[in-house]
């Protein structure tokens, strides 16, 4: 049986009087790719932020199993524009307290075919997204949270990104990705979780989700 890497139990989040999430339960197990779907404002990014540890839940708990680590690709590219891709990677590798930050950064630059010395503010949106993914993968996380990772990528860049995700899953990791693209969900997800207005409204296989979605 696949190992549970990350658990969310009865997670709620309020912003003032607005309820963004209401009592969400979720488990991520090794070797699975879970698609988080739902309309805009459903609470997908809020849940991702809470699972990543960037945002505190108003109620409920997040549990990361044993030595599992969580990597997070936010919806918007997250890196320093006035540093090059290489400098960004070295900085984040140092903050991750990796043993050989320069070597790790060089490895990531090569793996993601990123230019080393160009300021990241001047990189294409695809390269910026790949840089953010490279930063998310620093420290070899077991769980990878991808918040609408392909929204602004061309088909080639998408293929590269999903290749990385598959590589991660094959290595025993888990991926939770949010998406508005049904084809992507059908092709890459092993399980689907649907949110609506902060409530978990569906959990099942992609096939079940397709049926559920067609129901009136």
């Amino acid at each position: 049986m696949a190992e549970t890497l990350l658990t969310a139990h009865a997670v709620s989040r309020r912003f003032g009087r607005v309820i963004a999430l209401e009592s969400i339960d979720l488990e991520l197990r090794s070797g699975e790719a879970v698609a988080l779907v739902g309309p805009n404002g459903a609470g997908k990014s809020t849940l991702m932020s809470i699972l990543a540890g960037a945002l505190k839940a108003s109620e409920g708990q997040i549990a990361v199993t044993g030595s599992a680590k969580v990597g997070w690709l936010p919806q918007r590219p997250a890196h320093y524009g006035r540093l090059s891709a290489g400098e960004n990677l070295v900085l984040f590798a140092r903050l991750e307290q990796m043993d050989e930050p320069e070597r790790e950064a060089a490895r990531m630059l090569e793996r993601f075919s990123l230019p080393s010395d160009r300021l990241s503010a001047y990189l294409s949106i695809g390269n910026r997204q790949r840089l953010s993914l490279a930063i998310a993968l620093l420290g070899n996380p077991n769980v990878l949270l991808l918040d609408e990772p392909t929204a602004s990528l061309d088909p080639k860049q998408r293929a590269l990104l999903w290749g990385e995700a598959q590589h991660h899953i094959a290595a025993g990791g888990a991926v939770l990705f949010s998406s508005q693209n049904p084809e992507e969900v059908e092709r890459h997800a092993t399980r689907v979780v649907a949110l609506d207005s902060g409530h978990l409204v569906f959990g099942g296989s992609p096939e079940e989700y397709t049926v559920w979605e067609r129901e009136p």
Binding site: F15, S45, T46, S49, A52, G53, A54, L55, K56, W72, P74, R76, P77, A78, H79, Y80, G81, R82, L83, E87, L91, F92, R94, L95, E96, Q97, L119, I135
Partner: protein, 446 residues
């Protein structure tokens, strides 16, 4: 250990980013310097003469004779009004000018002023009205000085007159009293006449009396001369610095430049973490909030130190090259830079708070500038003029920094000022740092 290491890594990152935006750094340094120059120039004129209206209800004639002396009272008033600008107005004009702030005070010369002055027996009065406000006490002092100077001029004339009468009573001659000339024999001549009459025994008694009276009058004459000027003020003008190179100006320039720079920088670099969407990555446990706060305060401090050093060196170079009196106190520069460190850090903490609250770079910079100006201006208001402004200013670093720099640069014994002000700035760093720390979660919240 990790906390400090992370703070150092983030500070280094910010320094590298700033180095790649030299225009921003130059603007950040030049803009406050420009403001400092302008404020300094305005502050230099703060002691300029306020405008006073004079209302002449007595229709003072061009020339007035008092106690045998002829005065041009209007000219005299204009002459003694060294610290104010006099404008002669009608009563209605003066009232309007006072309401609108065109003048800060109105002197009213009432009906009968000249008659009272001429009578010598009644002291004439002038009325003085001033507007409420910060400089009213200063204007009142200047009015008191004006009346004092006017009294002195008249007093000199009265005393000169009195001394003249005493001289004539003693030595004889022609005296004018209330417009009529009188021939006076004088005590000394009267004594000589009586002394020549050796046959009259009563004359000898009168001569002795005249000797006593003459001695007493001579003593009175000497006293009157002394009373005319009991204490003399010897005024000498020495070569010294002009306002633009004064100690005060240097302290203002330093405090103002660092204030705007540290506030704007602290706010901008803090908000930029959110702008670049990195705050959320750091905030998920990668970096502690204290490290992030410390990094931003450290950056504001380092840049403040760099710019402060440049300002001090620039002032010093101008002073040395120009051969300005006093020179630059080079040995005090390390002490000043210690103050700049505390000052920049305390302001950086406030800037970090603004950056966290604003959450967006442009709003943060604008917010910092909006906050900087009141902080600076509050610190420039003299405490004795508006004590509440002084109390409010105390919870911000500007006035403490300005007093620290001024004292560190030019006081003979600066420690009595520098010590308490350093403690103030340290306390404000802790206070504002704690408030900024509380605001940090806003950086990662949507």
């Amino acid at each position: 250990m990790k906390t400090l290491r992370d703070a150092a890594l983030l500070t280094h990152k910010d320094l590298v980013s700033l180095r790649r935006a030299p225009l921003v750094v130059i603007l950040l340094a030049l803009y406050p310097l420009l403001i400092a120059g302008l404020v300094g120039t305005v502050a230099g004129y703060a002691n300029s003469r306020p405008r006073i209206a004079v209302v002449d209800l007595d229709h003072i004639p061009a020339k007035t004779t008092v106690a045998g002396h002829t005065y041009e009272i209007k000219s005299l008033i204009n002459e003694v009004a060294k610290n104010v600008r006099i404008s002669w107005m009608s009563k209605a004009q003066a009232a309007q000018a006072l309401r609108t702030g065109e003048v800060v005070g109105v002197i009213t010369i009432p009906h009968g002023f000249i008659n009272d002055l001429k009578s010598v027996s009644n002291s004439p009065q002038v009325g003085f009205e001033t507007s409420q406000g910060g400089i009213s006490s200063r204007v009142t002092q200047q009015m008191q000085a004006l009346i004092y100077n006017l009294n002195r001029k008249l007093q000199d004339a009265y005393l000169k007159d009195a001394i003249g009468y005493i001289s004539i009573i003693r030595g004889g001659g022609t005296a004018n009293f209330l417009g009529s000339d009188y021939k006076v024999l004088g005590i000394e001549k009267a004594r000589a006449l009586l002394a020549a009459d050796k046959k009259n025994p009563q004359a000898a008694k009168v001569v002795r009396f005249l000797d006593t009276a003459n001695g007493a009058l001579r003593a009175s004459e000497l006293s009157a001369r002394a009373v005319a000027q009991p204490i003399r003020l010897a005024t000498a003008t020495r070569s010294g610095r002009g306002w633009l190179l004064s100690a005060q100006m240097q302290a203002y320039a330093l405090a103002l430049t660092v204030s705007i720079l540290a506030l704007a920088l602290g706010a901008a670099v803090t908000a930029s973490e959110r702008d670049e969407n990195v705050a959320c990555l750091l905030g998920r446990g990668l970096v502690s909030r204290f490290s992030l706060l410390a990094a931003k305060i450290a950056l504001a401090t380092i840049i403040s130190l760099a710019v402060g050093t440049v300002i001090l060196l620039a002032f010093g170079a101008i002073v040395e090259i120009g051969g300005i009196a006093g020179g630059q106190p080079w040995q005090r520069i390390p002490l000043v830079l210690l103050g700049v460190t505390l000052f920049g850090a305390a302001l950086g903490a406030i800037g970090t708070l603004i950056g966290a609250l604003a959450r967006e770079g442009r709003s943060a910079t604008l917010g910092a500038l909006l906050v900087a100006l009141p902080i600076v201006l509050l610190g420039l208001i003299p405490r004795e003029i508006a004590p509440p402004a002084g109390y409010v200013s105390d919870i911000f670093p500007f006035s403490h920094g300005e007093r620290f720099f001024s004292s560190a640069l030019y006081d003979l014994h600066p420690w009595a000022t520098v010590g308490p002000e350093a403690l103030w700035m340290l306390g404000l760093l802790v206070l504002w740092g704690a408030v900024a720390r509380l605001a940090q979660p806003r950086l990662t919240e949507s």
